[in-house]
């Protein structure tokens, strides 16, 4: 079956800034596709190209088999979009915006609308100007989830949500996936798409640096373990354990980078040295890039940030 989204060699320049530099992206029907990248990587730009809001300077792109620039209006009947920074009309209430967007998209599922409002604890009678960032985000999310469209394009949809609401979001995302709809979900936090995504594409400096299923990308999901031990342990010794990628001593602590599958073993070995304090955390995307791609990328120079 033809992919829902297929971009090949996309380039996009803003003046002298190259936002997209030969980006390839393939999203298949029915999958939740995580679109990962640090700030300024080109996620929002890619999404705007896919929506026909921006023209490309090169490369080809098809959405549901059609050209998003030429057939924008037709294509938009089949998708719902949640922008990264939702701006609402100051004098329209959240409920009005949800209905407006729903009707513009050709109808809204009433039952789902009510359900979503409740789940997200959103007051639909408030005016746009009195919503917090998270609540503006919720308005757009409710409108998108309540529309009966085959494709959802979500640009950092959880950036303003608190952890509780993020959970609600994940539940609804799971439901959308169960219904067989396709989702493009951008984020700059790996763990966020980890739970929901079938496949992930990682973008940096306008180019895809890695793409595949989460299992393919397991090597990316190293956990950082920091422990202070009763009986000292040399970094060089721990570095030789299976599944340990790197180890160093940091004052009275030892800091290890461990493959996720080996975390249990490593904890056991650490236990033998008497654990006094322990923190485990998934690596941030930036850390991943620093460790993983520093050598392979020719042009990793950070570019200037422009609020999108």
């Amino acid at each position: 079956m033809a992919p829902v989204i297929e971009a090949v060699g996309l380039t996009k320049k803003f003046g002298t800034t190259t936002a997209l530099d030969g980006l390839d992206l393939t999203v298949h029907e029915g999958e939740v596709h995580g679109f990962l990248g640090p700030n300024g990587a080109g996620k929002s730009t890619t999404i705007r190209v896919l929506l026909g809001l921006l023209r490309t300077d090169g490369g080809t792109v098809t959405l549901l088999g059609r050209d998003p620039w030429a057939d924008a209006t037709e294509l938009h009947r089949q998708l719902a979009y949640v922008p990264g920074d939702v701006v609402l009309w100051p004098n329209l209430t959240g409920g009005e915006v949800i209905d407006l967007l729903g009707r513009l998209r050709g109808g809204i599922d009433e039952g789902r609308r009510a359900e979503l409002l409740e789940a997200f604890e959103l007051d639909p009678t408030k005016k746009g100007r009195s919503y917090s960032k998270g609540n503006r985000q919720k308005v757009a999310l409710v409108a998108a989830f309540a529309s009966d469209v085959p494709l959802l394009v979500l640009d950092e949809p959880t950036s303003g949500l608190d952890p509780l609401m993020e959970k609600v979001f994940q539940e609804h995302l799971a439901r959308v996936r169960a219904e067989g709809r396709t989702v493009l979900l951008s984020s700059h936090i790996l763990s966020e798409v980890e739970t929901a995504a079938d496949r992930v594409s990682i973008v940096r400096a306008g180019r895809i640096v890695d793409s595949g299923t989460l299992a393919d990308l397991r090597h990316l999901t190293r956990t950082s373990i920091s422990a202070s031990l009763a009986r000292p342990l040399a970094g060089s010794e721990a570095g030789g354990w299976p599944g340990v990628d790197s180890a160093r001593e940091d004052r009275d602590r030892i800091v290890l980078s461990v493959e996720t599958s080996a975390v249990g073993d490593v904890l056991q070995r650490l236990g033998a040295h008497g654990i006094e304090a322990l923190t485990c955390q998934p690596p941030t995307l930036e850390e991943l890039f620093l460790s993983q791609y520093r050598d392979t990328l020719t042009d990793p120079a950070p570019r200037e940030e422009v609020p999108a």
């Binding site: 929002s44 730009t45 705007r48 929506l51 809001l53 921006l54 023209r55 924008a72 209006t73 037709e74 938009h76 009947r77 998708l79 979009y81 922008p83 920074d85 939702v86 701006v87 609402l88 009309w89 100051p90 004098n91 329209l92 209430t93 409920g95 009005e96 915006v97 949800i98 209905d99 407006l100 967007l101 009707r103 513009l104 998209r105 050709g106 007051d123 639909p124 009678t125 408030k126 005016k127 100007r129 009195s130 757009a140 394009v153 999108a308």
Partner: protein
């Protein structure tokens, strides 16, 4: 006073952001003051020579309604006649724009939050905005005065003209400072402040064209104070004192309100609204109408009042303007045909057409602000085509400005019909005949929006240019083709004269062409992000 902490930093920031536009606006104001004085001095070599020209102005009702009474029957008095009221309005508008931009707009966009979390005191944004606006006003007044001095006219009168601009600008600074505390939106604050300015104008226009005690009403309006400074005439420079007092009082009110509200909100709290969207809201047109209806309602009320006021003056036109000189002058201003009354209405309607164009431009510019804020993106990511989105706002800009012209035509016709032979049948078509020029302005706005979106707001500069050409072009003896650059130059002389049908059709064609080019360019360009 820690609540003022950071004022200096904010002021420097504001100056950095706005210095070019401030300098350009001030220089434009100074140049018009200088230009019209210099041109008048060329026209009349002596006060004696000016006397006959002056006699045509002293009792001219349409001049009085627009510009206020002639300050003195001297060359210098004629030279500042237009500058007094137009300069007052322009200075007031500049002050308004600066104060609002650095207070309410900043707050609405959330930028002040960034600052308020830092070391910036609560009063600092307002203080900085006031400082920038009042310094701009003072600079305008001072430089205008010096430029007039350079033409060799009376010194006290020249400083009095500076005082005119200072009075109008300062009080408007205070008015805006209060307005931005009341509502939580830039637009709402603008509506209040401009409403007050419009009211001040109507009060003084009514008072100036009234007879007897009614004339004292002008003291109720701060534009009335500005005009009563009367440069080269009574030279009431002391009127700066009440203006400063009024400004201080308004600032004190603004400051008190500031302490009663939260950052980002207005004193009038936002009330909850409907939980469901009305059926009408389901299309781009419904949305555009919802966003624009408030402003159209405000303008409609304003234009209805202005129409009634102007129509009412009709009763006294024949009595006050009884010299052949006045008649001659009025004819020239309105295109040259018809009766005295026709000429009077012709002049006023052209002035109102410029106002309708301002409405059209402001309404069409909503496209730009929607795009910039990212709300355009939300709508354009639904099955709404770029054409439909464009059309939804453009229809309101075009039809709305024609509607305003119709309102003023009917209102003036009804009022005039009861006291004279001119009524709705004459004034409605005359008002509507100015629509093609207004539509050209709307079309040009769309052209800028499509081709050079960053410069969309230059539409205001274009309109200002048209006004300068119309008001001062002939005085500066510009060539015919230059005057013809303004669409308002191609209007016929209705009521009572030749409608210049060919010219009107030509304007409509131009309007359609520029709009089509603008729309096509918009369809082909990136949406701003």
């Amino acid at each position: 006073m820690t609540s003022l902490a950071g004022t200096g930093t904010l002021l420097r920031l504001a100056w950095r952001r706005d210095r070019w536009i401030v300098v350009a606006s001030v220089l434009a104001l100074v140049a018009t003051a200088y230009g019209s004085m210099a041109a008048t001095l060329d026209l009349y070599p002596s006060d004696a020579a000016a006397a006959s020209g002056a006699s045509a102005m002293v009792d001219n009702p349409s001049l009085t309604a627009l510009y206020g009474p002639l300050p003195s029957a001297t060359v210098a008095g004629i030279g500042v006649l237009k500058t007094v009221m137009m300069g007052s309005l322009a200075t007031a508008f500049l002050a308004f724009a600066l104060v609002r931009r650095h207070t309410r707009s900043e707050e609405e966009d959330g930028r002040l939050e960034l600052l308020a979390a830092g070391v910036v005191g609560r009063r600092a944004p307002l203080a900085a905005a006031f400082a920038l606006a009042s310094l701009t006003v003072l600079a305008t007044g001072l430089l205008s005065a010096l430029s007039l001095l350079a033409t060799g006219v009376d010194a006290v009168g020249s400083f009095a003209l500076g005082a005119v601009e200072v009075v109008a600008g300062l009080v408007m600074t205070g008015v805006t400072a209060v307005a931005v505390q009341l509502t939580s939106t830039t637009r709402g604050a603008g509506g209040i402040a401009i409403g007050v300015l419009g009211l001040a104008f109507v009060i003084r226009a009514t008072a100036d064209t009234a007879t007897g005690a009614g004339q004292d009403l002008a003291w109720l309006s701060f534009l009335g104070w500005a005009e009563k400074v009367s440069p080269y005439g009574a030279n009431r420079l002391w009127l700066v004192v009440p203006a400063v007092v009024a400004t201080a009082l308004l600032l004190a009110v603004a400051d008190a309100l500031l302490h009663r509200r939260d950052l980002g909100s207005g004193l009038w709290a936002a009330r909850p609204g409907p939980a469901r969207g009305a059926a009408r809201l389901g299309t781009p047109y419904g949305l555009a109408w919802r966003l624009q209806r408030g402003s159209l309602l405000g303008w409609t009320i304003g234009y209805a009042v202005l129409g009634l006021v102007i129509g009412n003056i009709a009763s006294s036109v024949d009595q006050i303007a009884d010299s052949p000189d006045v008649e001659e002058m009025l004819r020239k201003m309105s295109g040259g045909q018809g009766s005295l009354l026709d000429a009077f209405f012709g002049t006023e309607l052209r002035f109102l057409a410029v106002g309708a164009a301002a409405y059209g431009i402001a309404t069409a510019l909503r496209l730009r602000s929607e795009e910039n804020a990212g709300r355009g993106e939300i709508v354009l990511a639904t099955p709404v085509s770029r054409w439909r989105w464009l059309a939804s706002h453009l229809v309101i800009a075009g039809a709305g400005s024609v509607w305003l012209l119709a309102v003023v035509g009917v209102a003036a016709g009804v009022a005039a019909g009861s006291v004279s032979t001119t009524g709705v049948a004459e004034l409605l078509p005359a008002a509507l005949a100015t629509a093609p020029a207004v539509l050209v302005c709307v079309g040009l706005t769309l052209l800028l929006f499509g081709l050079v979106p960053r410069l969309s707001t230059a539409a205001w500069a274009v309109l200002a240019e048209f006004v300068v050409l119309g008001e001062f072009g002939a005085l500066l003896s510009l060539p015919g083709w230059a005057l013809g650059l303004s669409p308002f130059d191609h209007l016929g002389s209705l009521p009572g004269g030749d409608p210049n049908a060919a010219g009107l059709v030509g304007l409509l064609v131009v309007a359609a062409l520029v709009a089509a080019v603008g729309a096509t360019a918009f369809r082909r360009r990136d949406l701003a992000t």
